[in-house]
Symmetry: C2
């Protein structure tokens, strides 16, 4: 049986299992070489071939079905070809379930230095050692084939916020041409390439880009270039523009978005897949997710509490340790603190995705969403903006060699897409 025939006769890559009657929410199943994934799904981020602080076994215990890793980071260190020589990314990091690799487009545009974009590709310097590098769509596919993830992203042009409509138009057009070249460059039948919809905050551009991407033979679609500084209403509006134009039989992945409230809002608009470093990054800052919002474990009100982070939470941390102990570990800057907080936040996000899916299958998605959002208090936008400014100010003064923002437990939560 040839590869092209098998693609037709095998079970499809994605199956919609249930559709909510009142919203665009749906439940589905993704099939990959390394197993199936139920959707809607939250994907923990393992930028450097490790979800920070946790082992693959712990990820499974948290309920992770698929994780993300990053082509830009791995290409720089340890090198994609080296990972291939070591058996591919699954073997290298000891994770035998599905992996999705981002192309690194976002990272080239946010972390790379002295960047120069042409239609051919993007030249930049490594944030680690300043080495001159050149990414083309074909080169990125080569890197991702070396890494061997189950789902891969093509190189796209990512703009910062705000951007002009003209800049967004040029970037979307280039992203589209790069998407076609990426499709043509793939050689592995066991990887699924998604097309990424760009278009900034401009509805007309988003629609055009979505229509053209939908016409290409992708098996799934990403929505990129959101959650980069625009307000939530704008982000929701862009998703609402794009989703109806994407083929319903293909999964939709909202890149770099995935706070608890975002999951409900994204799913309601037809999104199937989410990833964001937020739950793991804020965990290392001592922000723990609960059904009522975030809890700051460093607050002295927790110093004497024998309660768990959340009553009834089945995560390892809540089963074993009190708020008082976690408070002590964070105050004492003990490394165990960062892991225990990460395990809780990951379990929270993965259980939340499972809860959303169950509500769709049970036909009560809207009621479940209303109930969750009625008690969950998202972080105030003003606080987020302040944190982001502080974080960007700190980054601006940091020398290139230490710009690997993702490796320090005291990072702020923002710039959630550069990696974790």
């Amino acid at each position: 049986m040839s590869v092209s025939l098998s693609a037709v006769s095998d079970p499809p890559f994605f199956t919609v299992q249930a559709q909510d009657p009142h919203t665009a929410a749906r439940a589905g199943l993704l099939r990959t070489t390394h197993g199936s994934v139920t959707t809607p799904i939250f994907m923990p981020v393992g930028t450097q071939a490790t979800v920070k602080t946790v082992t693959p076994d712990e990820l499974k215990e948290c309920g992770a079905q698929i994780i993300l890793s990053n082509t830009y980071h791995l290409a720089l260190r340890p090198g994609a070809e080296r990972v291939a020589e070591l058996g591919g990314l699954h073997t290298f990091m000891g994770w035998d379930r599905p992996i999705l690799t981002d192309s690194g487009g976002f990272q080239v545009f946010s972390l790379g230095h002295l960047r120069r974009v042409t239609d051919e590709g993007v030249a930049f310097r490594s944030h680690i050692d300043g080495a001159a590098l050149f990414f083309t769509p074909e080169r990125v596919i080569q890197l991702e084939e070396w890494l061997g993830a189950d789902i891969i992203m093509p190189l796209d042009e990512c703009l910062g916020f705000p951007m002009t409509e003209q800049a967004a138009r040029v970037a979307a057009a280039r992203t589209l041409r790069w998407a076609e070249r990426s499709l043509a460059a793939t050689t592995r039948a066991d990887q699924t390439l998604f097309g990424i919809v760009q278009g900034g905050v401009y509805p007309q551009l988003r629609r055009e880009c979505a229509r053209e991407m939908a016409a290409l033979p992708f098996l799934g679609h990403s929505i990129g270039g959101l959650s980069i500084g625009e307000d939530k209403a704008t982000m929701h509006a862009m998703i609402t523009e794009v989703v109806p134009l994407l083929p319903p039989e293909r999964p939709r992945y909202l890149m770099g978005v995935g706070a608890p409230e975002d999951l409900w809002e994204g799913v309601a608009r037809g999104v199937d897949m989410f990833d964001v470093v937020l739950p793991t990054r804020i965990a290392r800052n001592g922000a723990l997710l609960t059904r009522r919002g975030r809890l700051n474990i460093r607050n002295s009100m927790h110093a004497s509490s024998r309660a768990p982070i959340e009553q009834g939470c089945p995560c390892y941390t809540c089963q074993r340790f009190t708020l008082a102990y976690l408070h002590h570990l964070f105050r004492a800057e003990e490394l165990l603190a960062y892991r225990l907080a990460t395990l809780h936040n990951l379990r929270f996000m993965l259980d939340l995705a499972a809860e959303i899916r169950a509500s769709i299958l049970a036909g009560c998605f809207s009621a479940a969403r209303d109930e969750f959002l009625a008690s969950y208090r998202p972080t105030d936008q003003g606080v987020r903006d302040q944190q982001k400014e502080k974080w960007l100010a700190r980054r601006a003064t940091r020398p290139p060699a230490s710009a690997s923002d993702a490796t320090r437990p005291d990072d702020q939560e923002l710039d959630d897409r550069t990696g974790d």
Copy 2:
């Protein structure tokens, strides 16, 4: 049955199970409220109520039977009385096996600021916030009763190296008077207080101190004030002076000593218990223990190796991950690196203690020691001295508020007694 009667009629605190015919090595069993401990034993150090980077479950998986914690550190943060309110140290940190607390004497003398010693006790300032504190033998017993460890140490006067014979004489005499006051101050029948032998590097002083401690009603003895800068021959000589004067039916604990070669040499001289932060601290620096000596995982020779740290090692890290992956994690400064290295080094030390015990029970201790030492290459003393100088120079320039040396993964290995 009264407490004093039960102490007589219950199984003894310590039983010698086997005695090597050619050396002073012996195998034994310690009985505590939280279970038994086989000796010789290596005790992982959990200074701040956590063995850095690992959970209690992982400690058990590594084979840990008893761990250490530190009265000085816990009294400063979160406070010993708070730990008592939270159910005691076992409950607080989620460890249900035996715990030994050091009195904090060593830390007062190495970390405390503006120290002033009198016969009454020692006044000093907290290394965390500069708060004025006063430790007396009675106060330390009170703190340790609040913490609730199974085995506790009395306050002792610890000198730096080198020290004059006169200073060592004064400190040993004071330590002896404090030992008597500590015995008188204890109120809990479920804790066992050890007496600490001091005396510096002076054989006559060591013998006098050992004889006087042996005459007091302790159920176990510590040998303190060693591995603080003297050479190994001197350390061995001091152990050889002290051990024969201690009652054979009481366990002997060599404080702050426990490199692989030290375990064999200490056991050969009659020591039963060891603790040192070395295996966990060097793990966080990327130094991994093997049967041939230490391996530096950051070395580029490991970048492409699919081998484990050591063939046949049953530790979690060696069962799951390659040298190449560990090398990548260390180069990328990923937090998971520090845990995986710690798990390996702890397992190495705990398996080594078990191997030593088995060799005593099998009657082949000397042959087993010779075989181990023939292939194990200890770190060169010159390298250790250089590292120590660098570390001390860095400490000297560090402000008091960040002097908590034990909380950073990049600490050098030395000053192994201040905590981990």
